[in-house]
Structures are given as structure tokens and as C-alpha cells.
């Protein structure tokens, strides 16, 4: 019954943390000092946020080592949500 | 001739879909009942397992797909022309409020029913001053929500002389079903005569006219009966219990209080009445108007 499961090492967690902190400072830096990027800042901020979210989900939340079904489910849920967003904003932009 | 230019497109889509639907309803019901008797236990004691049949399944996937695409198409072509009004359309402002329609013509004429010339495109600019309404003329097959804070429009061409009902189709509170009006399609000449005939003032008190045009009388009676808000009869000098900031207060209603309530109705509420239903009329009525209204109320 008991399947062997993957135990993530402390070092790996620490590495994840370092990369997340780096990404945080990157996004703050771009936003506060990189004003010449103009409208791109929103896109970059959201892009970096998504990278961070992915890192948290993959390593901290263990998705990387979980059965495939978990990744498929979250992919479906998130893409559904994104389609909601697109259809909603599409209505507002075409008015 | 149809009552409006949209009747044809709407009815066509309706008939196409209803036609297909009725066919399927009858056919499926018939087959169902036929099987029920043909394969009754008595007639067919041993059933046959048929797990599936690919060809049949493809057929009854593809045929409905084609049919719904046809239905969709008729729906779309009937709807598309409603989206853009012709540039030469006559513009009228249609205002919805609890529970009254008001139509404002370009040259200043105001009416609570719609009168339009035949064969001329009319564009209604829809405004709501309180909650959602929906202007619906069944005979013209058109309907459009009237949303506060949004500038929506609808347009149509009346093609047949006559008077048609206007309903409010979006639920808007207590007297929703009484928010009726009418649309009269008249000849060009009759329309011009109607337009130039002055407002039917006669000897009506200007304050009463204002109460009528602003739908005040939907909620406040003139004969002392209780509707949604307190009655106007004997209002000035009446003792009322109001609730202001959560405190009960007894006040004597005076002119200043009434003027204040017209401008900011929801700062206090009269006990046993619902607060929050009245919109502010500060931007709609001038100080002179308010004076006229109070003058009229004092005569009741």
C-alpha cells in the first residue's frame, strides 16, 4: 500500500528560496527603477509573478514529484480560469 | 407589412429553429413510443446487446452539428443589424426610472409615451437614473437593457401605423409590471403636428407636472394612501419619526426638510418605510423646480 515517496532535501528548498528572492528583487527593481519599459512593466511583473508561482508550485508544493494527474488537473483549472479572463475582457474591449 | 424592420429577421430565426425543433420532438417521441410497443417484454422476451455502432454515432453527431450551425447563423444575421443605427436616424432620449418611461425629443418636447413617424429610423438613447430596466416593444421584436451609468442605444423603424405596448422587461422593484408605456407610429404630418402642439399644460400646477414627469407619484400618493414612500397629502407640518445615523428623532416636516430629502434622500429614513429606494434628484431638478413642487405639495 505504502508507495515510496520523494523526500526533498533541505538544500533544494533553500535553493528554491534563493531563486524566489532573486525573482522578487528583480521584479521590484524593474518596477521601481526600470520606468523606461513603460507599459511592459505590467506584463513583466505578471510574467515574473507567474514564474515565481510555478517555482512555488513545482518545488515547495511538490508538484514536480507528484503523479502526473496533479499537473494535468492544475493545468486544466488554470487554463479554464485564463479563458474566463480572456472572454470577460474581450467583451469589455470590444464594446 | 411588418410592424418594424426587425420583425422579419427575428421571426425567421424563430421559425427556422422552431420548425427543426418540432420535427425532432415529434420524430423522437414517435420512435420512442414505437420501440416501447415493438420491443415490449411480451413481444421480445430476449434483448439483444448492441454496445455501439460507429457509423450511426458519427451520423448523429454530424447532423446536429450542421443544424445548430444553421440555427446560429439565422440568429446572427437577424441580430447583427440591431447593433448599429443608421446615421440618419432620429435621436430620442429614453429615460427609465422606477416606474416610468420618459421620452425626450431633440427640440425639448418631453412625453411619457413614444410617438414616432412611420418609415423613419429612430434611435433611442437609453438612460436609467436608478436601477436596471429594459425597454421592450414586443411588436417590434426589440429589447435592450437600460443600465445606469452606461450609454446604450437601440434603434428601429416603425413600418405600420398603430399603437404598440412598451414593457419593462428587466425586474426593477415593486411596481415593475406597471412600468408600461406605448409607442405610436403615425404619419409624417401627424408627427409634426404632435411635435408642435404645445405641452398639455392647461391650468395644471407646474409642481404637479414636475411630480408626474419625474415619476414621484409612483411612490408618493396625493390622497394620503400609503404606497412605497410617505404620502404628500398634509405633508407640511406633519409630525414624523425619522431615523438619522441610527437615532430615532421626531421632527415636524417643513419646506427645508423636503428640499433636503429631494436632493439627498438617503441621509435619513422615515420610520416604517424602506430607505435606499429613492435616487437623488439634486442634478435633475433645479431649485426653482423644487420650489414649485413644495408649493404644490402645500396645497394638498
Amino acid at each position: 500500500m505504502e508507495d515510496s515517496y520523494h523526500i526533498t532535501g533541505y538544500a533544494e528548498h533553500f535553493g528554491t528560496w534563493v531563486s524566489l528572492i532573486l525573482l522578487t528583487f528583480m521584479t521590484v527593481f524593474i518596477s521601481v527603477f526600470g520606468a523606461d519599459l513603460n507599459t511592459l512593466t505590467v506584463a513583466t511583473a505578471l510574467f515574473i509573478a507567474s514564474v515565481k508561482a510555478l517555482v512555488v508550485a513545482y518545488y515547495f508544493m511538490h508538484l514536480k514529484y507528484d503523479p502526473k494527474i496533479y499537473r494535468i488537473m492544475i493545468l486544466i483549472v488554470m487554463s479554464m480560469f485564463v479563458i474566463f479572463l480572456i472572454m470577460l475582457i474581450f467583451d469589455y474591449l470590444t464594446r | 407589412m411588418n410592424a418594424s424592420n426587425f420583425v422579419e429577421g427575428v421571426d425567421l430565426s424563430l421559425y427556422v429553429i422552431l420548425g427543426i425543433s418540432v420535427f425532432f420532438l415529434i420524430a423522437i417521441t414517435f420512435v420512442m413510443i414505437y420501440f416501447l410497443f415493438k420491443y415490449r417484454k411480451k413481444n421480445n422476451p430476449v434483448a439483444t446487446n448492441i454496445p455501439h455502432n460507429t457509423l450511426l454515432e458519427i451520423v448523429w453527431t454530424v447532423i446536429p452539428t450542421i443544424l445548430v450551425l444553421i440555427m446560429f447563423w439565422y440568429g446572427w444575421i437577424g441580430y447583427k443589424p440591431m447593433l448599429t443605427a443608421p446615421s440618419d436616424a432620429m435621436e430620442i432620449e429614453a429615460v427609465g426610472q422606477m416606474w416610468k418611461w420618459t421620452f425626450k425629443y431633440p427640440d425639448g418636447k418631453v412625453s411619457d409615451s413614444l410617438v414616432i413617424p412611420i418609415d423613419k429610423p429612430v434611435k433611442l438613447n437609453l438612460k436609467s437614473i436608478d436601477v436596471l430596466h429594459s425597454l421592450y416593444i414586443p411588436a417590434f421584436r426589440i429589447k435592450r437593457d437600460v443600465v445606469p451609468g452606461q450609454d446604450f442605444m437601440m434603434w428601429f423603424t416603425g413600418q405600420k401605423l398603430g399603437t404598440y405596448d412598451i414593457f419593462c422587461a428587466e425586474y426593477c422593484g415593486q411596481l415593475h409590471s406597471y412600468m408600461l408605456s406605448s409607442c405610436t407610429v403615425v404619419s409624417e404630418d401627424d408627427y409634426n403636428n404632435w411635435l408642435t402642439s404645445g405641452p398639455n399644460l392647461s391650468n395644471e400646477h407646474p409642481g404637479l407636472t414636475l411630480l408626474k414627469t419625474n415619476a414621484c407619484l409612483s411612490c408618493h400618493s396625493r390622497d394620503g394612501s400609503r404606497i412605497i414612500g410617505p404620502s404628500f397629502k398634509g405633508l407640511i407640518g406633519r409630525q414624523e419619526v425619522i431615523i438619522r445615523d441610527g437615532n430615532r428623532e421626531e421632527i415636524i416636516v417643513d419646506e427645508e426638510y423636503i428640499a433636503g430629502k429631494i436632493k439627498n434622500p438617503n441621509t435619513s429614513e422615515v420610520e416604517t418605510y424602506q430607505a435606499g429606494l429613492m435616487a437623488s434628484y439634486g442634478d435633475i431638478l433645479s431649485d426653482d423646480d423644487i420650489k414649485n413642487i413644495i408649493d404644490y405639495i402645500s396645497t394638498l
Binding site: E2, Y5, I7, T8, G9, Y10, H13, F14, T16, W17, L20, I21, T24, F25, T27, V28, S31, V32, A35, T41, V42, A45, L46, I48, A49, K52, A53, V56, A57, Y59, F60, M61, H62, Y70, M73, I74, V77, M78, F81, F84, L85, L88, I89, Y92, L93 | -
Partner: protein, 207 residues
Amino acid sequence: MEHSFSLPNSGHNYDAKASKLGMWLFLYTELLLFGGLFMVYMVYRALNPDAFLIASFNLNVWLGTINTVVLLTSSMTVAMSITAIQKGNSKLSLILLALTVAAAVIFLVIKYFEWGAKIEHGFWPGMDHFTNLPFGEQLYFYLYFFMTGLHGLHVVVGMVFILIVMKKIKNGSQNKNKNQLLENSGLYWHLVDLIWIYLFPLFYLIH
């Protein structure tokens, strides 16, 4: 109750996988709960881009950044505590969880001062300064309070979860072989972090 026959797949067995799956499903509902708010945010931001930009200058980016770092760190400690208990080191696991709770408290304290400053300056709905703002900026602050408030509530709930798990580790009912409750609280805590990862740029970083 006498139970002479039992089925191999029974709803009464301890099933770590079922409980993990259940937790993930619950997280989806949380994501969509905030998702609804993100939709509102997106639409109002699209309708009032300038007002949102102006209003966002009222927030302190550095406090936001510190809070981000605090939450990320707490996520790491909670992840490590799971590693610790899986390796059988309950004590270390407890210490790491205590650190997580401490981080949560720090986060809430900073949030408290941030909100306090806003309210002191009259940005709370209904206050004088607030009612004089343009509609777009009012919406920004509505959403700011609503979304960070709801997020704060989740921080509190997550904290309570972790405290309960700590108690269970202490009395040994969460251990090397049976630690799904800890893992689930960890998942919940990471979700709180995930949501903050999006709230942070959306409110603080839209210069």
C-alpha cells in the same frame, strides 16, 4: 460494531493519497475564489488605468517587498518541516513550524501598520478623504482592502492549521509515517503565498 467482512477499498481506511487529492481540490476552489476578485480587478483596471496607477503610489513598495520576502521564507520553512518529519526529525520540524508561525505574525503586524496608515489618512471607504477621490481610485482602494483583507484572513486560517499540526506532532499523532495533515497545511500555506505573489505586483508594482 461487529464487522465480519471489509472491502479492500474502504472509505474508513486512512488514505494519505485521498486526503492529499482532497486538499488539492480544495485549493482549486480557493484559487477560483480569489480568481473572481482578480476578474473584478482586471475589468476595473482596464476601465480606469490612470486612476489605478495614481492610487497605487499611495502604497509603500518597500513594506510590500518585505512582506513578500517574509512569506517566501515562511514557505521555505514549512516545506523544510515536511522534509524534517519525513526524515523522522520531529523536533526540527516543530522548530521550523514555529518559525513559520512567527513569519505569519510578522506579516500580519506589517499589514496592520500598513492598513492603519491608510485608514489614518482617510482611505477607508466612507471617510472624507476617500469620498473625495475619483471613482477609479475609490475602486482601487475597495479592491485593495477587500483582496488583502481576504488574504489576511487566509493567513490567519493557515496559522491556525499549523498550530493544530504542531500540537499533533508534539503528541506524536503526526509522525514519520503519517504526516498528511502536515503536508496539507503546508499546501495551504503555499497557496497563501501563491496568492500574495500575484497581489504584490498587482497592487504595489504597477508604476
